[in-house]
């Protein structure tokens, strides 16, 4: 342990560490604004900053393929989906005073307590552990693709089946209501509980 500390220089950060720290502060700040701001659309936009910061952290950890996947999927599509969801549920554009529920102080206590406990445990456990970022790149597209299609083919294919199931499920969830409404409109208008035509995700 003392040898490791001596070889790496205790409390003398390298350039990568300084960059990681600065990007990490920006990421954490954006995440905190995301969960605390009163303006719902701003919350989604700050989430872009947080997820983009995590992509930069992946790049600093030499996992470049995952960084670009993060940019493509999270920043590209998930945030757009969330913005569409906010718009379709008619989220207020300005400040909404009831964005936080009544138990936010309990939530703050739980989050601060778990943060303190986890930071203590993690720092104590990995006090003398260094990541060796020199040498061959760990997460290039070539390396990731080779390991993914040599050792992880079966989970990869199972994941494609899962994605198909999620796609079909999302279509069924959003479509069944339209069919049920059309049926109801044809048979008896404004009967809110047609038991035969209810989707499984609905209340009863």
């Amino acid at each position: 342990m003392t040898l490791a500390a001596a070889s790496h220089g205790f409390l003398s950060p390298t350039g990568v560490e300084i960059a990681f720290l600065l990007v990490g502060i920006v990421t954490l700040g954006a995440a905190v604004v995301t969960v605390t701001t009163k303006q719902l659309v701003h919350s989604a936009l700050w989430l872009v900053v947080a997820l983009g910061g995590i992509a930069v952290e992946y790049l600093l950890l030499t996992a470049e393929f995952i960084a670009w996947v993060q940019v493509l999927i999270y920043v590209g599509s998930v945030v757009v989906l969330l913005l569409f969801g906010l718009m379709l549920t008619k989220a207020p554009i300005g400040r909404s005073p009831d964005a936080d529920s009544g138990n936010r102080w309990a939530a703050l206590v739980v989050a601060a307590g778990s943060a303190a406990a986890l930071v203590w445990v993690v720092v104590d456990a990995f006090r003398a552990t260094w990541i060796d970022l020199d040498g061959p790149v760990q997460g290039s597209t070539q390396e990731s693709g080779r390991s993914l299609f040599q050792y992880w083919v079966l989970p990869f294919e199972a994941l494609s089946v899962l994605l198909l199931a999620a796609l079909v499920g999302a279509i069924v969830l959003s479509r069944k209501h339209g069919a049920a409404a059309a049926e109801r409109g044809a048979v008896a208008p404004s009967t809110p509980t047609g038991p035969a035509a209810h989707a499984p995700g609905e209340d009863r």
Partner: protein
């Protein structure tokens, strides 16, 4: 790089997401906080994969799988939230209390008044 940097960053991001899940009222903001928590886990997976120099690259493969599962989760979750919004005209989690255990038949306004202890009732 010291391993504590990514580990502590992911811990703090996870706890930020935890606060968001517990404190937010809008269902879509809760989904955003869940995304933050999943991203914290992904950062941990990548950091430990690079640290261990795994020949199978289990951490990075699992990160890709987590990203995919999170994308599927957000799709299904948003479909459910939109369905609930269409049926109820609201996506506030505090007001969706059909599954809560009802002690007697108290009227809804009375139940909505006692909000701070709704979590404990909802899990019962």
């Amino acid at each position: 790089m010291h391993l504590a940097y990514p580990a502590v960053l992911s811990v703090l991001l996870f706890c930020t997401g935890l606060y968001g899940v517990l404190a937010r009222r809008n269902a879509i903001l809760v989904l955003m906080s869940v995304e933050l928590m999943l991203n914290a886990v992904n950062l941990n997976l990548v950091a430990f994969d690079v640290w261990l120099r795994d020949t199978l690259h289990a951490g990075q493969a699992l990160t890709l799988f987590t990203i995919t599962v999170a994308a599927a989760e957000i799709g299904i979750g948003l479909a459910i939230v939109l369905l609930v919004y269409r049926n109820r005209g609201s996506s506030d989690i505090d007001r969706l209390r059909d599954l809560a255990e009802q002690a007697g038949e108290a009227d809804p306004a009375d139940r909505d008044a006692q909000q701070p202890d709704t979590k404990a009732e909802a899990t019962a």
